[in-house]
Each structure stands twice: as structure tokens, then as C-alpha cells.
Amino acid sequence: MGRFVARRLLQMIPVFLGTTALIFFMVHLLPGDPLAALWGDKAPDPVQLAALKHQQGLDQPLLQQYLSYMGNLLTGDFGTSLDGRPVLDKITDALPVTVRLALFAFAIEIVVGIAIGLFSGLRRGKLFDKGTLVLTLLLIAIPVPVLGFVVQTVFGQNLKWVTPTVQDSNDITQLVLPAVVLGSLSLAYVARLTRTSIAENIKADYVRTAVAKGLPRRKVIGTHLLRNSMIPVVTYLGTDLGNLMAGAIVTEGIFNVQGVGHALYQAINMKEGATVSGFVAFLVLVYLAAGLIVDLLYAVLDPRIRYA
């Protein structure tokens, strides 16, 4: 187990280096000059443009830019964005907001999704199961913007239970609406996956044995059935957490949440290499960590899986 974790951690290094390099060079390939764009439609003043280029180090060969960027990264310096703020500041501004929103949505999809999936799996073919099928299909079919605007209009503007948009991104109680919208699609997937897995495993030998041994129903379902049925769900949840962390540009836009999605979108638009690379480097780490945790969870859930 320890060796497995160590090996996975070592593997992360080339993956991290590769992805950041790819992003760095891809941002460079985007059309247009980010500094000239500071002047908008107006012709940039060549003297000032050259001075800014020099200050940002953009007048050096691309490879050298990359090397000095990576060198700074190792010392914890994420560089400076075009507006003069350190990229790390931008990350630490946006990341807590996104983490809160993502975990909120994640909690909703786990609790509600697994509960719905479990009950409809146990009552296969019954009314609840059919109702769940309709509900989840509906959630999967409705595009996020539509759901977002409907929820915003109904709860924010008509019923006035909450403000239509998030007034303070750092106040978690205001994130209820966006979290529900953000979690709803994954919730449907989690419910479908859980239901199918449960419905399949309920006929398995070990469940029949557990029932035959006279174990209480609660224990049969909780310890034996549910635990074994979680493997496909956990796989999905692992990648989904990464997706949620990368930010949801659409949801953030509708509810005016100032998170990673928006920051990244703006940085890409402005072709800010340092900011984009910084955010992506962070997200790559999140993905890698989530992948590792999922792999470790397999072993916990199913003792037959061993990591040497």
C-alpha cells in the first residue's frame, strides 16, 4: 500500500510537468497579442508596448520564458498577471469560493443521489423507481443554463426566498441555489449508477448468504450490498470532483459567483499565460489527488482489490 502510494506520487511529477508545459505553450499559441489588447481598439503606443513587454519578460524567447516560469514556480512564485496582481493572490481569492461551492454541490449529489439510487434499486420496477427514472432523465436532459435561470426566477425573483444572485461569494448560505443547480446533473448520474449497481448486486450470492445467515436487513444493505455497489459510483465521483473544482463557468455566470471558472475564463480571454498556467497547475494537482483517493477507496470498499 505504502509503495503503491509512493509510486503514484512519483508518477504525478511527469504528469504535472507535462500538463503545465502543454498549457503554457498552448496559451502562447492563442491568436492576438495580450499586451496590445490592453489598448482595446486603439493603436498601442509602440514605446509603451515595448516597455510593458520587457517588464513582463515577454520579449524573451518562449523556451526561456517557460524555464524561468517553472523556476519561479518551484519557489512558490506563480508570477504576476497583466493587471499587476500576483497570480497567487488571484488563485487564493477564487479557490476558496470554488472549493466551498464544489464541496456543497458534491455533498448534495452524494447524499441525495445515493439515497435516491439506493431506494429505487431496492424497489426495482415499483412506482418510486419509475418516478426516479423520469426525474433523473429530466435533470440530465435540461441544460444547466435553463435550470439555472428557472431556479433563479422562481426562488429569487418570484418567491424572493433568496437573492437572485450571490451577493457575497464567501458566504456559504448564499451558495445554496448555485450548489443545487451545479450538483443536479451529477446527482442524476449518481442516482442512476447507484440504482443499477444495487439492482444487480441484490441478486448476488453474498447478499443471499447474508440474508440466509439471518443478518438484520439494515446490516445486509448497509455493510454488504451498498458497500460493494459503490465502486462504479466512487469512480464517477472522483472525476466529478475534479470537474466541479475546475469551476462551472455557466453556473458561476448566472449566479455571479466569483470563482475559478470565471477567473480562468477571463484569463484565457486576455491570453494571460501566467494566470492560466497557475490555475491549471493547481487544478492538475486536484485531479491527481482525487484520482489517487479514488484508487485507494477501491481497496477499502472491496477487500479483493489489493495494491502491492
Binding site: G32, D33, K42, G84, R85, D93, Q152, T165, S169
Partner: protein, 540 residues
């Protein structure tokens, strides 16, 4: 400056011009009621792209915050777009080249230090120096000595422009390197704001916590969230604030801001989202705003290409202009958010001359066909209009093309570039084939701005390669005129040259389509698309 796409690069100048009040913006929703001068109101904003230094803000996010924190020598009257004195007591010139400026006594910065002549001179010298990395540095290029502090190559040899001389605390003179009769109009731009002495010791720190001399003083800046300001009790301007301050709330989308406006979580917004254009007047009732803006949309032509350079081709361009049904397109596709253009200068601007374009801006398919034929036809009988796909231009470009195709039989297609940067690179790099979307947003409300900076031979924003000796001569004569009034008529004469060459087809003028919440009243928008900030009243 030209009309930009996604980010509106409006060079926001001081509070100004609540033009035609459209019958609905004159008083607050439900009639005017008592107001509380200590209460603040919120305004939809976007995160400033640069530190809050006056010479470094050329986009709306930072620009409109700066224009409230700082006040220059002059600004523009909210009632008629005319220039009015603020810190300046008088600006005198006898030769349109040397300007003697007298300041009013008693102006103070928010830190309590007085506003003196040296605060202007130091600020301009600092802003012009390339070492200060100020985006608006070229605004000082009219001043004598700019070439030494901002040389085309190499390091600056001086740190002061020779044209600026401080006489005493309240007097200084500005000598320009050439005659610019309307120089005082330029002085309304935020880049010409004064800076307190403390600024020069820590420009970066002051960029995060600006200290100005405007109607509002800086309180706090929570990045990506909001900038809070409060009314400055010692403000000496003619427009004393009728409210307690402005909170600039950052919004990622106009849709989100509109949802907040309807539920009174936001008080005044910038522009309603396109999705709400059809409904906002119903949604907001008498709180909806529909006011003219000093901005125009054009279709420019590549006169630098052999196909379009021939003198006869002007007729083809005139014909194409007459083939566009502006009335129908502005009413349907653009949902009344634009007004058909009849000139190259936008409506409401000083020197605006209705109908300068003449018959060439009137829809007449028969005459259009005739003119195009007379001019030898469109090269290849096909017109491509390049535009940026991220600015909501597709709909009207397609509509214009349909109009041209139906009325003349010329094949016309939109040529989208992925985003604004790419489109601009193609336009300035002369990699356009035929025609492109272009436009202009006023830097200051004077017709010279719409003409000199765009159609003069070699002008920075002359992306057409247009060169007309008559136009240049008229413009130069106007620049050297003894008074602003003469300049205005001079430039009207220059504008009269444009129909014959038709380097760009005027399409329509922009409008401010906005609104405000039930908590505020007396919200009037100026031709820069900004509310008259100090005049907004918050209900008690």
C-alpha cells in the same frame, strides 16, 4: 476610440450629459419622493484591468471608478455635453498653442493636501514617462517635450516635458508642439487628472488605494467583488453629490446584474443584456432608460487593396451604403438598441451634423444598383465583411448582407474571426479582404474626435488606408482655428468630404439601454453611457 467588442473600451470622461431624457428617465419610479443624501447606491461594474491610476485606465471597469475619485481641470456638462470648468478657473490661449491655466483656490485631495498647479504638471510628466508603464501615456503627445520624455527609441533623456511650466500654486502654462484649438476638450479625459504628492513615492500602493480630488473618496477594494466609495465632504466641484457614495459591484454577466436589478439588489446598471432588450421596458416601466450614446458603428473598406483603391470604387461603396435598410435592421434585429446613422459623427456630440452622409445613407435599392454598376461593380461580385464573433455582431452583419444581396444581387457574406483580438490583428495587419466591422466611441464629445483620429492620412485608427488631401487640409485648418467654435465648423467641412470617398459606411449610433431599481431616482445617462453619478438620489 473605435467601438470595441466584448469589453467596452469606453474612454470614460467625467460625469456628463444626460441627454434626451426619453420621457422615462426624468424622475424615479413612482414619481419622485424624498431622498437621503447620506445613503449609497450600487452600480454594475467589472473588475478594473489595471491598478487605479488615472493614466492607466482606458476600459470601463477602472475608468468609471477613476472618474469619480478624480476630477480634472474640466469636465462635460450633464445637460448639454458642453465643456465646463472644474478645478480650472479659466483656460486662456491666444494662438491655440500656448494655454495659460488658472486654478480655483480651495480644492483638496482626499488626504487633505491642496490641489496645486504642480500636482497637474507632476502627474502629466509621470504619466508620459514610459518607465511608469501607463497605457494612456500617448494622451500627452500634444505637449511640447513629449518626444524627449517618450522617445520612439532609447531611454528618455528628461523626466519633465519642456512645455509645462508652473508659475505659482494656482497658475501654469502648457505649450503644445503644434496647434490644437480644442486642447481643452482633451483635458476632460481622466488621464489629465492631478495626483497628490504622496502618489509619486508609492505609485503601486496608491494604485490599490487611490487618493484623488473627486466627488467620491476611496474606501475599499475587494478584488472581484466590489469597490466602495463615499462622498467627499470637501469636494469643490460644481456637481456636489446628492448621495452618500457609490458601491461598484462586480458582475460576471449582464444577465446576473439584470436579475439583481429587478429584485433591487442592484441600483443602477450599465446595459441590459441582449436577452432582455425586448422586455426591459415592460419589466422596469418608468425606470427603464433609453438614451443616446456618443458611439457609432461603421463598415470600413480596405482602400489599401488595388480592388478598392480606384477612384470609381467610391461609387460602389456609396451604392452598398444605399443598399442597407438601416431602419428595418435597427428595429428588428437590433431591437431598437441602435439608431440609424446619417453622418460619421455620432448624435449628441458637439458639431454633430444630421444628414452629413446625405442620400447615401438612405435606403434606395434602385439607386444602389445603379451606383454599383457605374463604379464597375464589387470586385468578384462578392463582399466579405470581417467581424469578431464574440461581440454579438453576427446577427446584424447577416442582416446587412441579406439587405445588400436582396437589393443589389451582390453576394455578401460575414467573415467571423474567433475573437476581438484576432479581428483587430487582421484589421491592423491589413489582412482583410474587402470590408470589416469598425466603429468609434467618443473620447470627448467633439466632432474632431470622430474625424481627425479616424479619417486623416496615417491617423492611428485609420484602418482603411484612406487618404484624402481635401480632408487632411480641412482638418489641419480646423485644428489651427482660433476658437473651438471655428474648429467645430472646420471639422464639419472636413466631414463633408467623406461622402465622395466613402471610406466607411455609417450604420447606426449606439444607445444606452439600461434601468435602475426602485430605491433610486433622478438617474440620467450621459453620452458616455454613464449615469450622472452625483445627481443620483437614493430614496429615504
Amino acid at each position: 476610440m473605435p467601438v470595441a467588442a466584448r469589453a467596452r473600451w469606453v474612454l470614460a470622461v467625467a460625469t456628463s450629459v444626460a441627454l434626451v431624457a426619453t420621457g422615462c428617465s426624468s424622475s424615479g419610479g413612482g414619481g419622485s419622493s424624498s431622498s437621503d443624501a447620506s445613503k449609497t447606491f450600487s452600480y454594475q461594474s467589472s473588475e478594473p484591468q489595471n491598478a487605479l491610476q488615472p493614466a492607466n485606465a482606458n476600459e470601463v471597469g477602472g475608468g468609471r471608478i477613476i472618474q469619480n475619485l478624480f476630477k480634472g481641470l474640466v469636465d462635460y456638462d450633464p445637460t448639454n455635453a458642453k465643456i465646463r470648468m472644474q478645478v480650472a478657473d479659466k483656460i486662456e490661449t491666444s494662438d491655440s498653442q500656448t494655454f495659460a491655466i488658472t486654478l480655483k483656490d480651495g480644492w483638496k485631495f482626499h488626504d487633505g493636501t491642496p490641489v496645486h498647479a504642480k500636482n497637474f504638471v507632476d502627474a502629466w510628466n509621470w504619466g508620459a514617462n514610459p518607465a511608469s508603464n501607463q497605457i494612456n501615456s500617448s494622451w500627452f503627445s500634444d505637449i511640447e517635450g513629449y518626444q524627449d520624455i517618450h522617445p520612439a527609441t532609447g531611454k528618455p533623456t528628461v523626466d519633465k516635458m519642456s512645455g509645462l511650466t508652473v508659475t505659482d500654486d494656482l497658475h501654469f502654462t502648457v505649450k503644445l508642439s503644434h496647434k490644437v484649438s480644442y486642447f481643452e476638450y482633451k483635458l476632460g479625459y481622466i488621464a489629465f487628472s492631478p495626483l497628490p504628492d504622496g502618489f509619486f513615492k508609492d505609485p503601486a500602493g496608491y494604485g490599490q488605494k487611490p487618493v484623488g480630488n473627486g466627488a467620491y473618496q476611496f474606501v475599499s477594494w475587494a478584488h472581484n467583488s466590489q469597490v466602495v466609495t463615499k462622498a467627499f465632504p470637501d469636494y469643490q466641484g460644481v456637481d456636489k453629490p446628492k448621495n452618500g457614495g457609490i458601491v461598484f459591484k462586480m458582475y460576471t454577466t449582464a444577465e446576473a446584474a439584470y436579475a439583481d436589478l429587478q429584485s433591487s439588489n442592484l441600483d443602477v446598471m450599465d446595459q441590459v443584456p441582449p436577452s432582455a432588450l425586448a422586455t426591459y421596458k415592460n419589466d422596469l416601466g418608468d425606470r427603464a432608460v433609453d438614451a443616446p450614446q456618443g458611439a457609432i458603428q461603421n463598415i470600413g473598406f480596405t482602400l489599401y487593396q488595388a480592388d478598392w483603391a480606384a477612384p470609381d470604387k467610391a461609387k460602389v461603396r456609396q451604392g452598398l451604403s444605399m443598399a442597407i435598410d438601416r431602419d428595418v435592421i435597427t428595429k428588428t434585429v437590433l431591437q431598437g438598441s441602435r439608431k440609424p446613422a446619417t453622418a460619421w459623427v455620432a448624435e449628441g456630440v458637439e458639431g454633430y451634423k444630421d444628414g452629413a452622409c446625405g442620400d447615401f445613407c438612405k435606403f434606395d435599392p434602385a439607386k444602389a444598383k445603379q451606383l454599383i454598376q457605374d463604379g464597375g461593380g464589387v470586385p468578384g461580385n462578392k463582399l466579405l465583411i470581417t467581424y469578431n464573433a464574440d461581440g454579438g455582431h453576427k446577427e446584424w452583419v447577416d442582416a446587412v448582407c441579406n439587405s445588400i444581396r436582396q437589393s443589389t444581387g451582390v453576394d455578401c457574406l460575414g467573415d467571423p474571426k474567433p475573437d476581438f483580438k484576432t479581428a483587430r490583428a487582421a484589421i491592423t495587419g491589413h489582412q482583410i479582404n474587402g470590408a470589416f466591422r469598425t466603429g468609434w466611441v467618443q473620447d470627448y464629445p467633439l466632432n474632431a474626435n470622430f474625424l481627425s483620429d479616424v479619417y486623416r492620412t496615417g491617423a492611428a485608427s485609420n484602418d482603411f488606408g484612406y487618404s484624402s488631401p481635401q480632408f487632411d487640409e480641412a482638418a489641419t485648418k480646423a485644428d489651427e482655428a482660433p476658437s473651438v467654435a471655428d474648429t467645430v465648423t472646420g471639422y464639419q467641412q472636413a466631414e463633408a468630404v467623406l461622402p465622395s470617398g466613402m471610406p466607411a459606411i455609417p450604420l447606426w449610433y449606439y444607445r444606452t439601454n439600461s434601468g435602475y431599481s426602485s430605491k433610486v431616482q433622478n438617474v440620467k445617462f450621459d453620452s458616455f453611457g454613464n449615469p450622472a453619478w452625483t445627481q443620483v438620489e437614493v430614496k429615504g
